[in-house]
Amino acid sequence: MFRKVARVFALAVVLVAGASVPSRAQDQKGTLVFAVESLSAQTLDPILEGRPGNAVYQAVMYDSLVGFDLEKGGIGPGVAERWELSADGLTWTFFIRPGQTFHNGDKLTAHDVKFSLERQMGPGSLASAAASMRRTIKNIEVVDDLTVKVQTTSPQIGLPAGLSRAVAPEGAIMPKAYIERVGEEEFRKKPIGSGPWKFVRNVPGDRIEFTAVTTPHWRGRPHFKDLHLLLVPEESTRVAMVRTGEAAIASIGPETMLGASRAGLEVLSVPGTMQAVFQFWGTYKPEVKDSPIAKARVRQALSLAIDRKQVIEHVMNGRARMPYPFATFGYTDYFSADRWEKWAAEAYRYDPVLAKKILAEEGYPNGFELKFANTALPGTQFMVDIGTAIADMWTKVGVKVTIKHYEWGSFAPMERGDQAGLIGWASMYRTAGRPDAPWRYDGAFSPESIQRLLGDKENCQEICQDFVKTSRALGSELDKTKRTALTDHMVELTANSWTVIPILEGMGYYAINTKKVGQFAPITGRHELGDVFERIPRPEQKPWKK
């Protein structure tokens, strides 16, 4: 009962306050309601939330040091207007955009940037890149109110990307003075940031409410007065809420997409948000030496046996596209996208006849036994459907597939340690849409990485060594054309290893009630809408075509 009374009281206060607040510009009215599948940790302190949560609801009230390139995707100007790398590649200098203020009126200065980065690396931080930042960042120096220098232990080409939401959440700028004045506990109850929306209320497991900033903001002035993010775990309920108008936008998957569009809802897809892949574990291990998947050509045959167009057409309802090579997208930095798009179109074509021929040549005329772990990472439940579809396609070329279904929490631990449960298996996997390919390649192929798909410390044959050499070179290469050449080489050797094989380039999908919101464009590669809410117009401002 107390909750209801509190809500009514809060409403009353807001109304009264609303009336007395300086007259809100006439064009900010109405409430934008967004139904989302998960609010993950649902905490407003940037150092306690992972990437998805930050991108969905923290991005709304916190700006990132580096922003987005809205046309092409990838990184662009943010809190810092521009940034440059010193000649020796060891110092990044960020030039802060003037005139930025926090929600309580404090000015945003270089001190806040230094404080924020150090807090992300601090002991209490759960930021996933905290350890890497501690290792790579030597010192952060405030030159003046609008300039900050970041010295690194070794050349870090990807540092700016790492501080933009295009890649990671660790770039969120927090109010130094406010936090030092009220302390972390109070900051977590009443957080303030510099973003286009101000925090109103957080109801655990239920909703988070924001209200628009009235002063102009470099990311754009919100068209709505309030923003409510509602936690609705069941997809069909989310679609129902959009259809009844209780919500304006809802995150959906391919499953309810047909129903939504037939019901007259607009289905928006955000391109280049993820790649669904399948990969082979420990193909180089001695105990797997004579099994079929140890042979690259057999792995290639399995790729040829997959009709990607059918999967895109029927499992994803046409809302996906042919993939680039592993973990690369149209917007990947230092990467010849056109060349690789043509390569991928040919390499990842559907050629079951050739697949059978290769299998016969490799000594498996009537197929072989393939163990396949089907799972789905959080947020992309449709991976299970893709896995089911491709497994069936393999059976069509004579491969006897035994599928074992894993809930993600049970699958993840098997990657660590000796990967006993995975060696000799194929499995579904995913890579998120990110402009910096090398970071993801290291995570998958380096002998020290967790996945160690090309080789580990004991047996790192020729491809593995070549990869290590290229990756180390990329780490310190500053020249753009050389970087592109190195990246292309890295992509080529790993693609020809056929250890990780992309199936399709997936998209983020949203059902939209066109009577509630106007037409808007998402940021390419950015699945979550945290950085888009302020640019969503009201229906009368920019009606959907039709």
Binding site: R3, S40, A41, Q42, T43, D45, L48, G50, R51, P123, G124, S125, L126, S128, A129, A130, A131, S132, R134, R135, A168, V203, P204, G205, D206, L230, L231, V232, P233, E234, S236, T237, A240, M241, R243, T244, E246, A263, L377, P378, E407, W408, G409, S410, A412, P413, E415, R416, Y429, R430, T431, A432, W439, R440, D442, G443, A444, E448, S449, I450
Partner: protein
């Protein structure tokens, strides 16, 4: 009676320790929260740092010692994912679940028990089979299927009711119906079979000999005896609803402890999982104790040993 309650509470305490220990160790078998929090491309170094920050790095027995040390003082640890004391997270959500249960049980009983009596009175007849079919429909339909169907019909197509989430009374209708239909079947069948048993006994004949009206004979003398097994089922159902109407809370986006438990398991949020199960055990124990005590009132023959 006091001695009985004391003994039961003592047994409950022993059980709680056992449950807590089992959950502590079994939970960790199912995986590790760190794997779920790190993005796919995290380095081994990031993993070690996060594990250490979450205090999951020490040997398991030390972790258990820390857990027991804090638990004694009532601190059941902080939820890894929700970054708040697990006990607060639980009590934040408990009212949302509790607020649904009485209505669901009420719906179950108000429909189930009369249906059961009517079915018993018209044994083998049309009414008996009709009541049976209605009740069975409640049992046969899976709750997530029923929930989604109800939303689709009453909220999307007809627009009478909101499709989900907490809010005004209108928000309660569909979740309560989804939870209640299953209970109707249970109460109906138990009442029917108990009534059939009682209606043939001698004291019913004596009641009629007294010249009492048929209604008093059936609804007072018979039903009162049939309430004994109904009470047991009531205890079982309340227990189930407390343990978590996970599916209904998910379909209707109802932030109850059912979904909290599910998330605690799926995200391997060990402190939250431990706290939720311990606090739920306390709830279940007290309910079952209440039911056992109620037994003595409902059936005077049962003396609380």
């Amino acid at each position: 009676m006091k001695r009985y309650i004391a003994r039961r509470l003592m047994q409950g305490a022993v059980l709680l320790c056992m449950v807590a220990t089992i959950v502590f160790f079994l939970g960790r078998l199912t995986g590790n929260p760190v794997d779920l929090m790190l993005p796919e491309d995290a380095t081994a170094e990031d993993r070690a740092a996060l594990t250490q920050t979450l205090g999951l790095d020490g040997p398991i027995l030390d972790q258990f010692a820390i857990f027991v040390g804090k638990a004694i003082h009532g601190d059941l640890g902080t939820s890894i994912r929700m970054k708040q004391p697990a006990v607060d997270a639980f009590f934040d959500r408990l009212p949302n679940t509790l607020v649904l249960i009485p209505w669901a049980i009420l719906l179950g009983m108000l429909l189930g028990i009369p249906l059961g009596v009517v079915a018993a009175l018209h044994r083998g007849g049309l009414l008996d089979r009709a009541a049976g079919t209605v009740a069975v429909l409640g049992v046969a339909m899976p709750s997530f299927w029923l929930g989604i169907l109800l939303i689709f019909v009453f909220s999307v197509e007809l627009g009478w009711l909101p499709s989900g989430r907490m809010g005004g009374p209108a928000h309660y209708v569909l979740p309560v119906i989804t939870l209640g239909t299953f209970l109707v079947a249970g109460f109906m069948r138990i009442t029917r079979s108990a009534m059939l048993e009682v209606m043939e006994s001698e004291f019913v004949k004596l009641a009629r000999i007294k010249g009492l009206s048929e209604a008093v004979v059936i609804w007072k003398h018979c039903l009162r005896n049939a309430l004994i097994p109904v009470l047991t089922l009531w205890g079982v159902f309340v227990g189930n609803l407390i343990t978590g109407a996970i599916v209904t809370e998910t379909v209707f986006a109802w932030p109850g402890i059912g979904r909290l438990t599910y998330e605690a398991v799926i995200y391997r949020d060990f402190p939250l999982l431990q706290a939720v199960i311990i606090l739920k055990s306390i709830l279940i124990l007290s309910i079952n104790l209440a039911v056992d005590i109620l037994y003595a009132y409902v059936d005077p023959r049962i003396r609380l040993a």
